[in-house]
C-alpha cells in the first residue's frame, strides 16, 4: 500500500465520514424519541415524560452540535480531495445535496435554537412543533444523502456528456435509483436501533446506580420497546438490501461472502482469512448450502464469485468480509438483547436483573459500531469504483493534490477529532451521571 495523495485522501475521507456518521446515527433516532416524549407529555400531562425530555434533550444537543460541524467538513472535502469526482457528479448529485441543505439543514438549524433555548419564550405547543421540525429535518437529511450515496452504488437516470461528466436525464430515476429504498430504510432503522441501545444503556446505568430510578425505568422500558421492534426489523431490511445488492453489485456480495469462485450450492462462510494474492480463503469455517439458501432461497442457486472480474476490479476483500461480520454479529446480538429484555419485562424481573442491566451498558455502542461497520462494508465493497462501474476512485482524486498537503490536513483533523471524541465522552458521562434535573429545571 503506497501512502500517496490518493491513499491519504481515502483515509481522511473514511475517517471524517466515520466520525461524522456516529452523531447523526444517534440524533436521527433520539430526535424522534424526543418528539415522542414531548408529545406524550402534552397529551397525558404526566411529569415523567417532561423530565425525560429535559434529560435527553441535553445529551441530544451535545451530539447534534458535533454532528453539524463535522458534517460541514464533508461538503468541502468533495472539492478539496476529490475534484475529479465533484466535476463528474456535480450536475447530478449537486442538486440532491442542494435539496438536503434547503429542506433539512436549514430546518434543523432554524428550529434547534427554539428547541434548546426557547422554552421560556414560546408556548408548549410551539415548542413541540420546533422539536418535530428538528426531527423532520434529520429524517429529510437522511433521505437526500442516501439518495446521493445510492446513486453512486447503482447509478441511473443519467448520461455521459461530450465533455465526459455525468448529466441528469430523468430526476425520478436519479433519486429513486434501484438501491435507494433499501438503503434508506436500512439506515434510518439503523439509527433507531442505535439510539434505542444508547438510551437503554444510559437508562440501565442510572437504574443500577439509583439515579432517579423510577424515571429512568420508564426510559429503559421505552428504549427496550423501541429495540424490540427495530432490531428484528433491521434483520429483515438488511436481508432485502442484500438481495438488492446481489442483483446490482454481485461482486460486493462475493466479497462479503468470501466467495472467490462462481459456484452453485454455495456454502455460508462463517469465518475465514481471505487472501487477496492467492485469491482464496485460509482457515475457512463454513456451513454447506446455506449461502445459496440465504441469497437465492434455493439449495443449488448459483452465486457469482470474485473470479468473474479481473483482480484490479475487486474490492479489498478482507475489509469487506470482516466489516460485514462485525455488523451482522452485533445485529444478532442486539436482537437477542431486545428479546431478552421483553421476556424479563414480561416476567417482571427487569429491574432486579442486575446482570442484564450490566450487559445493556456494554451493548450501548453496539448499534453505532454496527452502523459504521455496515458503511465500511458497502463503501469498501464498491471499490475500486467511486461511482459503480462508471468512475474509478483513482480518477476521482484531485490530480494536482500534493501528498504533503493531505498529510498535514489528515494529521490535523485526526488530532482534533480525537480530542473532541474524548471530551464528548467525558462531558457526556458527566451529564449522564447528573440524571434528570428536578421538575421545573432548565434545559
Amino acid at each position: 500500500m503506497e501512502l500517496d495523495a490518493l491513499m491519504l485522501s481515502r483515509i481522511q475521507f473514511g475517517l471524517t465520514t466515520a466520525f461524522h456518521i456516529m452523531f447523526p446515527t444517534m440524533t436521527i433516532g433520539t430526535a424522534l424519541f424526543l418528539a415522542f416524549l414531548e408529545g406524550a407529555w402534552l397529551k397525558t400531562g404526566k411529569e415523567v415524560y417532561r423530565r425525560l425530555y429535559h434529560y435527553w434533550v441535553r445529551l441530544f444537543a451535545l451530539a447534534f452540535g458535533i454532528g453539524v460541524v463535522s458534517g460541514v467538513v464533508l461538503t468541502f472535502e468533495f472539492g478539496l480531495n476529490w475534484s475529479g469526482y465533484s466535476n463528474f457528479i456535480g450536475d447530478v448529485l449537486g442538486p440532491l445535496i442542494g435539496y438536503e441543505v434547503l429542506t433539512a439543514f436549514f430546518l434543523e438549524a432554524g428550529f434547534i435554537g427554539i428547541m434548546l433555548f426557547g422554552e421560556r419564550r414560546v408556548g408548549p405547543k410551539l415548542h413541540f412543533f420546533a422539536t418535530c421540525m428538528v426531527a423532520l429535518g434529520t429524517t429529510f437529511s437522511a433521505f437526500w444523502i442516501l439518495a446521493a450515496n445510492s446513486w453512486m452504488q447503482t447509478p441511473a437516470g443519467y448520461e455521459i456528456s461530450a465533455q465526459g461528466y455525468a448529466v441528469p436525464v430523468d430526476w425520478m430515476a436519479v433519486i429513486f435509483n434501484p438501491s435507494f429504498p433499501y438503503r434508506l430504510a436500512h439506515m434510518v432503522n439503523a439509527s433507531l436501533v442505535s439510539s434505542a441501545f444508547v438510551i437503554a444503556a444510559v437508562s440501565a446505568w442510572c437504574v443500577l446506580k439509583n439515579v432517579e430510578r423510577e424515571t429512568m425505568m420508564k426510559s429503559l422500558k421505552l428504549a427496550l420497546l423501541m429495540a424490540a421492534i427495530t432490531a428484528p426489523l433491521q434483520a429483515f431490511l438488511g436481508d432485502q438490501h442484500g438481495l438488492n445488492t446481489l442483483e446490482y453489485q454481485p461482486i460486493k456480495i462475493a466479497a462479503i461472502e468470501g466467495h472467490w469462485e462462481t459456484v452453485s450450492e454455495a456454502p455460508l462462510v462463517l469465518f475465514a482469512w481471505p487472501d487477496m494474492e492467492e485469491a482464496k480463503n485460509y482457515y475457512e469455517v463454513s456451513i454447506p448450502y446455506l449461502g445459496s439458501i440465504i441469497l437465492t432461497h434455493s439449495l443449488d442457486g448459483t452465486l457469482v464469485g470474485l473470479d468473474t472480474v479481473p483482480a484490479e476490479d475487486r474490492p479489498y476483500v478482507p475489509l469487506v468480509f470482516f466489516a460485514f461480520r462485525i455488523m451482522a454479529g452485533l445485529g444478532f446480538l442486539m436482537i437477542g438483547m431486545a428479546f431478552l429484555g421483553q421476556w424479563l419485562r414480561h416476567k417482571k424481573r427487569l429491574d432486579t436483573s442486575q446482570w442484564y442491566l450490566k450487559l445493556l451498558i456494554l451493548t450501548g455502542p453496539a448499534g453505532i459500531v454496527a452502523t459504521i461497520a455496515g458503511w465500511i462494508t458497502t463503501e469498501a465493497g464498491r471499490q475500486p469504483w467511486v461511482v459503480y462501474e462508471v468512475l474509478r476512485t483513482k480518477d476521482a482524486v484531485t490530480p494536482s493534490l500534493d501528498t504533503s498537503t493531505v498529510a498535514i490536513s489528515l494529521v490535523a483533523v485526526s488530532v482534533v477529532y480525537l480530542i473532541i471524541l474524548l471530551v464528548f465522552l467525558k462531558v457526556g458521562a458527566r451529564m449522564v451521571a447528573q440524571g434528570p434535573q428536578p421538575a421545573g429545571g432548565t434545559v
Binding site: F76, N87, S400, I420
Partner: protein
C-alpha cells in the same frame, strides 16, 4: 429576452454569500472579541446572544458551497484544490468553535481552555476565509484546469492583509451586534470595541480598494475608465455614507443604527467585489457560463431555491423574533453546568 438561468443562479449565490457574511460574520465576530473580555459573566452573555442562531447562520456557507457544486461544478472542482490548506484551516476553525459552544459551559473548571478554543477557532475561520478571498481576487494560476500553483501559492502579503481585514470586519459586526443585544457595562464595552474595530475596517477597506487595482489590472480598468467610472461612483459614495452612519450611531450611542450601517458597509464592499469580478466564476479563467452545470441541473434546483428559500427566510426571521431584545441571565447556556 430569454431568461438566463445562469445569471439568476449567480444572483442567488451572491445573495447566499451576503446572508452568510452578515449572519455568520457577527457571530464569528463575537468570538473574535472574546479574548478582549475579561469578565466571565459577560462572556456568558456574549455566547448566549448567538447560541440559538449560529447554527442557522453557518448553514448559509454550506448552501453557498453546495450551489457552487451543483450549478458551477467546473469552478467548484477548480477553486477548492487551489485553496486546500486555507479551506481546511477554516473547517478546523469552525469545528473548534462549534464544539466550544457545547463544551465550554458543560465541563466545569475548563472555561479558560474552551474560551480560548472558541476565540481561536473563530479567528482562524475568519482569517482563513480572508485568505481565500484574497487569493480569489488575485486570481489563481491555472493551466488546463489543473492547479499548478502548488499547495502554498496562497502565501502572499495581499492575502494575509485580506485575512486581517476580514477578521477586523467580522469583529466590527460582532461589536455592533452586541451593542444591540446587551445592556449596561457589557454594552458600553461592546461600543468601545465596535469603535476600535470600525477604525481598523476603514483603514483596511481603503488599503484593499487601492491594492486590488494594483494586483489586478483588469479590475483597475473596470473602476477607473470612463464612462463606467461614473456609473460605479455611487458604490464608494454609499460606502462612505454607511461609515458616516456607523460613526454617528456609535458616538450617539444608538442601538440599531451601528449594526445596520455596518451591514450596509459590508454589502457595498461585496457589491464592489462582485462588480470587480463579474462575469467570472474563476477570475480571469472561467466565466459563470463556462462553469455552469447542465440546464436540467439548474432547472431542477431552481424550484427549491425559489419556493423553499422564502420559507427558510420566514422561519429564520421568526427565530430572531423569538430571541429578540437584549440577552439576559435566562438565556443561553450556563444553568446546568
Amino acid at each position: 429576452m430569454e431568461l438566463d438561468l445562469v445569471v439568476i443562479w449567480a444572483a442567488i449565490l451572491v445573495v447566499g454569500v451576503i446572508m452568510y457574511v452578515v449572519l455568520d460574520g457577527f457571530d464569528l465576530g463575537v468570538g473574535i472579541l472574546f479574548p478582549f473580555q475579561n469578565n466571565r459573566g459577560h462572556r456568558d452573555h456574549m455566547m448566549g446572544s448567538i447560541a440559538p442562531v449560529w447554527d442557522g447562520n453557518e448553514t448559509w456557507l454550506i448552501m453557498g458551497g453546495v450551489i457552487i457544486l451543483a450549478i458551477f461544478p467546473r469552478a467548484y472542482s477548480m477553486i477548492l484544490p487551489a485553496v486546500y490548506l486555507p479551506i481546511f484551516a477554516m473547517l478546523l476553525g469552525f469545528i473548534l468553535r462549534g464544539v466550544a459552544f457545547e463544551f465550554r459551559h458543560r465541563s466545569p473548571g475548563t472555561e479558560h481552555i474552551w474560551r480560548k478554543v472558541f476565540a481561536g477557532g473563530s479567528i482562524l475561520a475568519a482569517f482563513s476565509q480572508g485568505i481565500v478571498l484574497g487569493h480569489f481576487i488575485g486570481g489563481f494560476n491555472f493551466e488546463q484546469s489543473l492547479f499548478e500553483g502548488g499547495p502554498w501559492s496562497w502565501v502572499h502579503p495581499f492575502n494575509f492583509f485580506t485575512g486581517l481585514a476580514l477578521v477586523a470586519g467580522y469583529g466590527l459586526l460582532g461589536g455592533c451586534w452586541l451593542v444591540m443585544k446587551t445592556t449596561g457595562e457589557l454594552r458600553a464595552w461592546s461600543r468601545r470595541m465596535a469603535i476600535r474595530f470600525g477604525a481598523l475596517v476603514m483603514i483596511a477597506m481603503a488599503v484593499v480598494s487601492i491594492w486590488t487595482p494594483l494586483v489586478d489590472p483588469e479590475i483597475n480598468r473596470r473602476w477607473f475608465t470612463m464612462p463606467d467610472m461614473l456609473w460605479l461612483m455611487p458604490v464608494p459614495i454609499l460606502t462612505g455614507l454607511a461609515f458616516l452612519g456607523l460613526w454617528i450611531g456609535l458616538f450617539r450611542d444608538r442601538t440599531l443604527q451601528p449594526f445596520l450601517c455596518a451591514v450596509a458597509a459590508f454589502l457595498l464592499g461585496f457589491l464592489g467585489l462582485a462588480i470587480s469580478l463579474w462575469p467570472y466564476a474563476v477570475p480571469r479563467v472561467m466565466t459563470i457560463w463556462e462553469a455552469a452545470s447542465s440546464p436540467a441541473s439548474q432547472q431542477f434546483l431552481i424550484w427549491g431555491a425559489l419556493f423553499i428559500i422564502p420559507v427558510i427566510l420566514a422561519y429564520t426571521c421568526y427565530t430572531y423574533w423569538v430571541f429578540r431584545g437584549p440577552v439576559s441571565d435566562k438565556d443561553g447556556y450556563g444553568h446546568d453546568g
